[in-house]
């Protein structure tokens, strides 16, 4: 049945934790994470799929959370940067980003890291060229790309 009420229920599993929300159907997954769950590690850069700052994993796949509504993800499992590691226990990709200085302002960084984690999963870390192509949905205006590629190469090498 169509839902006419101004708010609709959405159940998400976010970083392993079940979350039940009542959302305005207009709420994007990004806004639900940032403004409702206060998981502001997921960044908003454009709201139009054009920068990648809002990248999260939905059911293990990387997506731009600004171009999907929260309601469209009812029942999905979402991983945000907060779900990877903490400052005291960094995920290997987070540690590699620090070690390789793969960021400056840090605003694109959570999106880059989630994209990078997914990229290795997808098997796209075969060469620097392949990494560069498959990281091209994440803009870094500070221009840290060369170091981002290095960080990914390092982690891929450890895992491979």
């Amino acid at each position: 049945m169509p839902v006419d009420s101004p708010v609709v229920p959405v159940a998400l599993t976010v970083n392993g934790k079940p979350e039940r929300l009542e959302v305005d159907p207009r709420t994007t997954l990004l806004d639900a994470l940032r403004d409702r769950l206060h998981l502001s590690g997921t960044k908003k850069g454009c709201g139009l799929g054009q920068c990648g700052a809002c990248t999260v994993l939905v059911d293990g796949r990387r997506v731009v959370s600004c171009l999907t509504l929260a309601v469209m993800n009812d029942g999905a499992s979402v991983t945000t940067i907060e779900g990877l590691g903490t400052p005291d226990a960094l995920h290997p990709m987070q540690a590699a980003f620090v070690a390789c200085d793969a960021f400056q302002c840090g605003y694109c960084t959570p999106g880059q890291i989630l994209s990078a984690v997914a990229l290795i999963d997808e098997g796209h870390a075969g060469s620097d060229e392949e990494i560069r192509e498959h990281m091209s949905g994440n803009l870094c205006r500070c221009g840290a790309y060369a170091n981002i590629v290095e960080a990914i190469r390092t982690v891929a090498g450890q895992e491979g």
């Binding site: 799929g49 990648g52 509504l69 309601v71 469209m72 990229l119 796209h124 192509e133």
Partner: protein, 329 residues
């Protein structure tokens, strides 16, 4: 965004609610529709989510290959049948958008994405596509990205899809579910030229749901190349693209399928190029002569005249690459 109701449709097609009013819309991946809604270009009051109606997946059938409309672009690229028998499609998709968007976007949605014309995307300026009769500022404005083929005085917006370019070269059909049954529309007939009704982009009827695209067997298994030119190395729609699939037997072209993107108001098949190839013996001069036919009928504007030589050269380069593949076979 204007407020709307949201409903997720399931696989039961008989009982299905349809987006058959002007203020209702299907949403699949949402990657274009949400942009349009965020920018105030689209404002549906009812959103019908078709992402779980069960139209995803690729099947090899006796007479061709069927790609479900709900298939995510990534899944289509990685599908072994697509990779082996429709490499042109895989290549066009792999050069589209970003990995994240490809994980969300669907085949059906991709064919229906709206133009990137700067005036269409900015609601504060006139645009005949958005607001019929308001005018087309692109004619004498920023038209670097606009079409050199198929335009009219009312609209020169390009069709932005890379996939559609590959598919139109392969004689694909769009399978559509209507209330009273299923239809198949050749992709070549699916899109409308803008003429004086640029807001009407396809021959879909209200409520039509795309369920699949189908590529006939004759167009599968060909050597091919999708050459996409853009300003930056990735993550950009086509400035100009060339889709080429050929079969060469004993040095003679026995199948030629050529189309171009970034240049037409609809995905642009290039039959004249094909004619200059079919039955000919392949050599450099033949390829060049054929490629030059791509410019037949162009109507460029000052801002996009460069697309004419770019188109010819892209077609020539793609032809040469495929000819090499075929000759090496």
């Amino acid at each position: 965004m204007r407020a709307f109701t949201y409903e997720r449709l399931d696989g039961d097609s008989a009982a299905r609610r349809r987006a058959d009013t002007t203020d209702s819309a299907y949403v699949a991946g949402g990657t274009d529709l949400l942009q349009l809604m965020q920018e105030g270009i689209a404002a549906p009051r009812a959103l019908l989510d078709v992402s779980r109606v069960g139209t995803d997946g690729v099947t090899a059938e006796l007479d061709g290959i069927r790609i479900g409309a709900g298939t995510r672009l990534t899944d289509a690229i990685e599908d072994p049948t697509v990779a082996a028998r429709l490499p042109l499609v895989a290549e066009a998709l792999a050069a589209s958008a970003s990995p994240q968007v490809r994980n969300m976007a669907t085949i059906g949605g991709n064919l229906l994405q709206r133009t990137r014309c700067l005036y269409f995307r900015d609601v504060t300026t006139p645009c005949n596509k958005r607001e019929p009769g308001s005018g087309c500022p692109a004619q004498a404005g920023e038209n670097r990205l606009n079409a050199i083929l198929g335009g009219s005085a009312h609209c020169i917006a390009t069709h932005a899809s890379d996939l559609a370019v590959a598919l139109v070269a392969l004689d694909a059909e769009v399978i559509v579910e209507r209330r009273n049954g299923e239809r198949s529309i050749r992709l070549a007939d699916f899109y409308r030229l803008p003429g004086d009704t640029p807001h009407r982009e396809t021959h879909l009827e209200p409520g039509d749901l795309i369920t699949a695209v189908f590529v006939p067997i004759a167009a599968t298994g060909l050597s091919s190349r999708y050459l996409k030119l853009r300003d930056r190395a990735s993550f950009e729609w086509s400035l100009v693209s060339a889709a080429v699939a050929l079969k060469i037997d004993d040095g003679e072209v026995t199948a030629a399928r050529v189309a171009a993107g970034g240049v037409g108001t609809v995905p642009w098949r290039l039959p004249m190029v094909e004619d200059r190839l079919l039955g000919r013996t392949i050599d450099v001069a033949t390829l060049q002569l054929a490629a030059e036919a791509a410019a037949e009928g162009v109507d460029p504007r000052p801002g996009n005249a460069f697309k004419v030589p770019l188109l010819v050269n892209a077609v020539a380069r793609a032809l040469a690459a495929v000819a090499d593949q075929e000759l090496a076979r």
